[in-house]
């Protein structure tokens, strides 16, 4: 019954006026950027990160979380109406969702997506609440060696699940790790790789890096490749699915929730796989697979549920182990650290109101999304017609004000511009920069744990293999890499990510 008293505490926190308002703002902003092609949750959260400084940590994280799962919702709206996945995870929804829209069933597709997401969100919230306590207990048993191996495993998953070439994803992780070593060494106080610039003595500022690479560089990328928008001109039609639609989508929705939720827990951005896996499963077990791709409602209900469930269970590694599974969660780590909270198992005992408040807010947020999204669809469609030539100056001014406000340091804006150039160079060279951020955030933690583990073991690397949990994690890491590098698998992987 502990879970219920904890959840009650959480709802108490989440239902305060301020937190409700923040949750609402987060969901609204999230939906907005999910709908607008060319602005993703990574960019938005990095832009809004500095603005949350004035808030208390719980409120700030509630809002940032709202942006994240709100964006998953919004992403499906563009996928259905415009055939552009607002987010990477909505790619599959374009297949059947847009077909439904073309057949004049856009409203039903949107409704199914929203309701499916809501159901998935509810389940995921319960899963997080139920798994939170036991996983945290387990995490307390983890020594530095286990943590190090866990992070290695997470990074291996991130490499395998990244979009594009595995080799290049590997490069990005390593580069992120390398960048994380810039600054003063914590143990000896020696400056490392700083070029003697005093501003770098504290290391590269997280928000400067994130905003440069995901704010500025994304703008540059989008300016170069204007997206063709093929907005459905047909009527959206009624939103609530009829009885037969519901009957058809209940099981896909539940299966999707299960698949997405399970994959989402995986370190290294398993959530991305959820919609793909769900779609494949639905297509396999369907009586008539040929309907898929031509507007099958199961092809919307399943992946959309998987998508949302995964987005939420991705919080589990972050909240219980303190290890971010993907770039967005890496930003959450940044947000927590800025507010003086060290992510990890101790969060639950030391800041129970933050932990449970955030979980409760996710459920409330899902309800809000259902309520805001459906009636406001018309508005979102209108927003799609805002041309990019107006959108990016607005993004830019937000970035500038945000980055200035981090330290009230005008120089930071120039630094961010430099990282923008760096990010643009990465994009030009065919690198996908998301894993870099993950490596950057995990780098410092990894170094600390590695040092501790080696001090305990008196300098013997065998410690990572002697301890059973650590050895198991490393084994999984190696297995994942080997499987992904097998020629037959790498071909399949390409198919999944190019579909």
């Amino acid at each position: 019954m502990d879970m219920f008293s904890n959840l009650a505490l959480g709802f108490g926190v989440a239902l305060s006026f301020q937190n409700l308002a923040l949750c609402f703002v987060g969901c609204l902003v999230g939906t907005l950027i999910g709908v607008l092609p060319g602005v993703g949750p990574i960019a938005t959260i990095s832009i809004l990160l500095p603005i949350t400084f004035g808030l208390d940590p719980t409120g700030a994280l509630i809002m940032l979380a709202g942006i994240y799962y709100g964006a998953q919702y919004g992403g499906s709206t563009t996928a259905i109406l415009v055939n552009i996945p607002g987010e990477a995870t909505a790619v599959v929804t374009t297949l059947d969702g847009h077909q439904m829209a073309k057949q004049g069933r856009a409203g039903i597709a949107l409704g199914t997506a929203a309701i499916g997401s809501f159901v998935a969100g509810c389940f995921a919230t319960v899963v997080i609440a139920a798994l939170g306590a036991p996983l945290t207990k387990m995490a307390l048993l983890f020594g530095p060696a286990e943590y190090f191996s866990l992070m290695v495993m997470g990074l291996c998953f991130a490499v395998v699940l990244a979009r594009g070439s595995i080799l290049k994803a590997f490069c990005m992780i390593m580069l992120g790790l390398l960048l994380s070593t810039v600054g003063t060494d914590l143990e000896t106080g020696q400056e490392r790789l700083t070029f003697g610039i005093p501003a770098l003595a504290d290391g590269i500022d997280f928000s400067v890096l994130a905003m440069g690479i995901f704010g500025f560089a994304e703008v540059l990328r989008n300016l170069e490749a204007p997206e063709a928008r093929d907005v459905v001109r047909a009527k959206i039609g009624r939103l609530l699915p009829g009885w037969s639609d519901i009957k058809q989508s209940v099981m896909p929705c539940l299966r999707g929730t299960f698949i997405g939720g399970t994959l989402g827990i995986l370190p290294g951005n398993g959530a991305v796989l959820g919609p793909f896996a769900s779609y494949t499963v639905e297509k396999k077990i369907a009586k008539d697979p040929s309907r898929f791709g031509k507007g099958a409602i199961e092809g919307v209900a399943g992946p959309e549920s998987a998508n949302n469930a995964g987005a939420q269970t991705a919080f589990i590694p972050l909240l219980t182990l303190g290890i971010p599974p993907n770039a967005v969660m890496a930003l959450m780590v940044g947000a927590m650290t800025i507010h003086g909270i060290i992510p990890g198992p101790q969060v639950m005992t030391r800041n129970p109101e933050l932990f449970w408040g955030m979980i409760a807010s996710m459920w409330i947020g899902n309800l809000m999304l259902l309520i805001i999204n459906l009636p406001l669809v018309g508005l979102w469609v209108k927003l799609l017609q805002v041309p990019y030539r107006l959108m990016f100056p607005a993004i830019l001014i937000f970035c500038c004000i945000g980055i200035y406000s981090v330290n009230n340091q005008p120089l930071d804006v120039a630094f961010t511009a430099m990282f923008g150039l760096f990010g643009y160079l990465l994009i030009k060279l065919g690198f996908e920069p998301a894993p870099l951020l993950l490596g950057f955030v995990l780098g410092k933690l990894m170094e600390e744990k590695l040092r501790q583990a080696l001090i305990i073991s008196r300098g013997s690397f065998v410690t990572f293999l002697e301890r059973p949990i650590s050895a198991g994690l490393l084994l999984v890491a190696v297995a994942v890499l080997v499987i992904a590098l097998l020629p037959s698998m790498s071909k399949k992987r390409d198919e999944v990510f190019t579909e």
Partner: protein, 172 residues
């Protein structure tokens, strides 16, 4: 696989300038990091020194870069595409102008007073707006003014961030 073999028999040549560039980029960065970290003590495994991780990460980066170079010589891939300097100059330039003017600066004989958000805001949007191919002056000016006003209301008043508004005019 057979296709790859045929290609391989045709000898090594640059098949993907993008991958080649990426590899060289990684190697250059790794080299830079190695040079910068050369004086840092590596320490021993028992007591890792400050130079150990930067050096090993740099070595890994270099090796990965080498792999990329080899890949680019053996397998076909994307080619490098040209830079759009227009975007780089106006977008990043706008950000730098913001950094320089928000609180003012003085380098040698040049000095700019602190212009504050009231001026820097529209300035950023106007300069960056020039990066779009389909820019329209009237629309951009109206939007810049409206957006800056909204930002001032949001950041200065609603969120009360300590950002200068217009010290030269209002004293805040």
């Amino acid at each position: 696989m057979s296709l790859n073999k045929i290609e391989r028999s045709q000898g090594l040549r640059i098949r993907s300038t993008q991958d080649l560039g990426a590899g060289v980029f990684m190697i250059v960065l790794a080299g830079l990091a190695l040079v910068l970290a050369r004086d840092l003590p590596l320490g021993s495994l028992r007591q890792i020194g400050p130079g150990m991780l930067p050096t090993s990460f740099a070595v890994f980066c270099g090796i990965l870069g080498l792999f990329l170079v080899i890949t680019s010589l053996r397998f076909d891939g994307e080619q490098l595409s040209g830079w759009s300097w227009r975007g780089v100059i106006f977008v990043l330039g706008a950000a730098i102008v913001f950094g320089l003017t928000i609180r003012g600066f003085s380098i040698g004989p040049i000095s700019v007073p602190s212009l504050g958000l009231l001026v820097s805001g529209p300035l950023v949007m106007l300069i960056s707006g020039l990066a779009a191919d389909d820019m329209k002056w009237k629309e951009l000016i109206i939007f810049s003014v409206a957006m800056s006003t909204a930002c001032i209301l949001l950041f200065k008043y609603a969120l009360s961030l300590p950002i200068p508004l217009a010290p030269w005019l209002l004293g805040i």
